[in-house]
């Protein structure tokens, strides 16, 4: 890639910092050039976020229909999967999977709920009702 061809499409990262790209000068020698972003990557990231938003909406619907516990909703909202929830809460993966069932979730002690609430950065009532005070 030639230096003058380094894209300069403003990304959300570009507002905070430009990034270093390696490109060639007119004599063909490599040098670095700062880039504000590239449309192709911006839309790739947008696609990822659209998918995340869909997953959160789907999770909220499942919780409302009693097909999943609120943990699914907060897991998707925190961009986590079962492995990450397990690593942060200290529960085993199979336990997290069980806690995703509404019937099991209802019987969880406050002590266990607090472990989830702490990781998701919400209170226990917020965890149970999924009503959030947006930050």
């Amino acid at each position: 890639m030639k230096k003058e061809d380094v894209p300069q499409d403003l990304s959300s990262l570009g507002k905070i910092t430009k990034e270093v790209c390696y490109a060639t000068d007119p004599s063909g020698k490599y040098t670095t050039e700062l880039s504000r972003g590239w449309d192709i990557k911006i839309t790739a990231l947008d696609a990822a976020w659209d998918d995340i938003k869909d997953r959160i909406t789907l999770a909220a619907e499942k919780c409302a229909n009693n097909q999943a516990s609120p943990i699914l909703y907060f897991m998707e909202r925190g961009l986590m999967d079962i492995g990450i929830v397990s690593a942060y809460t200290g529960f085993w993966k199979w336990q997290v999977k069980r806690h995703l069932k509404p019937s099991v979730f209802k019987k969880l002690s406050d002590k266990k709920l607090q472990r989830y609430a702490g990781v998701f950065n919400v209170s226990i009532p917020e965890l149970k009702t999924m009503t959030l005070h947006e930050d």
Partner: protein, 342 residues
């Protein structure tokens, strides 16, 4: 206390940290492309049975941590590396290092990294930065951070730093910190040998790893798989998979073209140490490869933007990757034919 540490921006976090720490340790010759090449950073692997962020695991670089390790090893510089079981211990050792004037590299998670834009904060735990000072501010410790991705140095509170050092999940850093031994003066001869061994290691990794998923064979394999994604996954999911591939290839920290441009820059620099013009020719091949990766990304973007999406459009990307595999195979074979004089 603040250490007189030069913050230099880099394309890639680990090579940036490696260069900046080695410079501080006394290795004057080191540059980012040299760190990348000596550390045999160029790679390709697609692991179909693993998922990350609900998408495929595709890497264009070698495993996190290896570049620093290999570069120091090749230069014969001892490395101090520590992991911790408790946060207290991790905090204490960090303070101790800073108090005696030693800047340290830290592996951190990105999800809680406060100075990154929210859109980029996923649960990715193999980011690297340098801590080079500590200041008391309103009763709270603030740490001075040189993150090579950022144009300017930044600051994290003690709590924020602890949180990213103890991010959990895959590749959990467990407070890991590392630095090369101070006063490491490297002779030009040693440098030449390190460059050669880095290239040789990279040839092995790209051409001779058994199985279909790694190296140039992995690129060809991925190209063939992509052609089947549309039928297998449906258009929407296939588009998301392609978006993830493009992010791994181009997103912050690659220098563009899935690290192929940094490697081309490395080969140009290598030619200054080993005057053999074939290195320049092979460097051009990697530039072409980087360009082709970016063309494939543009084609992929057409799909995840919803502008195109026929089977033929997927076939085009697949064929582009197969072609790239051929080009990189040729380039590494040419590298393996170079006769090194010491």
């Amino acid at each position: 206390m603040k250490i007189d540490f030069e913050h230099l921006q880099a394309a890639h976090c680990e090579t940036g940290v490696t260069r900046n720490l080695l410079k501080y340790a006394g290795v004057e010759q080191i540059t980012e492309p040299l760190a990348f090449g000596i550390g045999a950073g160029l790679f390709f692997v697609y692991i179909p049975i693993l998922k990350i962020n609900n998408g495929p695991v595709i890497a264009f670089r070698t495993q996190p941590g290896l570049i620093f390790k290999r570069t120091c090893q090749a230069l014969g510089i001892p490395v101090i590396r520590k992991k911790f079981n408790t946060k207290e211990q991790a905090g204490l050792v960090l303070k101790e290092c800073l108090d005696r004037g030693q800047p340290v590299g830290c592996q951190v998670g990105v999800y809680y990294l406060s100075y990154f834009p929210k859109e980029y904060r996923f649960h990715f735990n193999a980011h690297n930065l340098v801590v080079y000072g500590r200041e008391q501010n309103h009763d709270e410790d603030h740490y001075l951070i040189s993150d090579p991705i950022m144009e300017k140095p930044t600051v994290l509170t003690a709590y924020e730093l602890e949180r990213v050092r103890f991010a959990r999940g895959a590749l959990a850093p467990r407070g890991q910190l590392y630095y090369p031994e101070q006063n490491s003066i490297i002779s030009d001869d040693r440098m030449r040998k390190a460059i050669r061994s880095g290239i040789e290691k990279n040839i092995r990794n790209m051409l001779h790893i058994p199985g279909p998923i790694a190296g140039v064979k992995g690129i060809r394999y991925t190209g063939r798989k992509i052609k089947k994604w549309r039928d297998k996954l449906g258009l929407k999911k296939a588009g998301l998979y392609l978006a993830q591939m493009v992010r791994m290839q181009e997103e912050i920290g690659t220098g563009g073209g899935g690290f192929r441009y940094i490697y081309a820059a490395f080969l140009q620099e290598a030619q200054a140490w080993h005057p053999d013009d074939r290195l320049l020719e092979i460097s051009n091949m990697f530039t072409r490869s980087g360009d082709s990766w970016r063309e494939a990304a543009i084609q992929a973007a057409g799909i995840y933007k919803g502008r195109i999406g026929s089977q033929q459009d997927f076939d085009v990307i697949g064929d582009q990757l197969v072609e790239i595999a051929g080009l990189e195979k040729q380039a590494f074979e040419a590298l393996s034919k170079i006769k090194w004089h010491p």
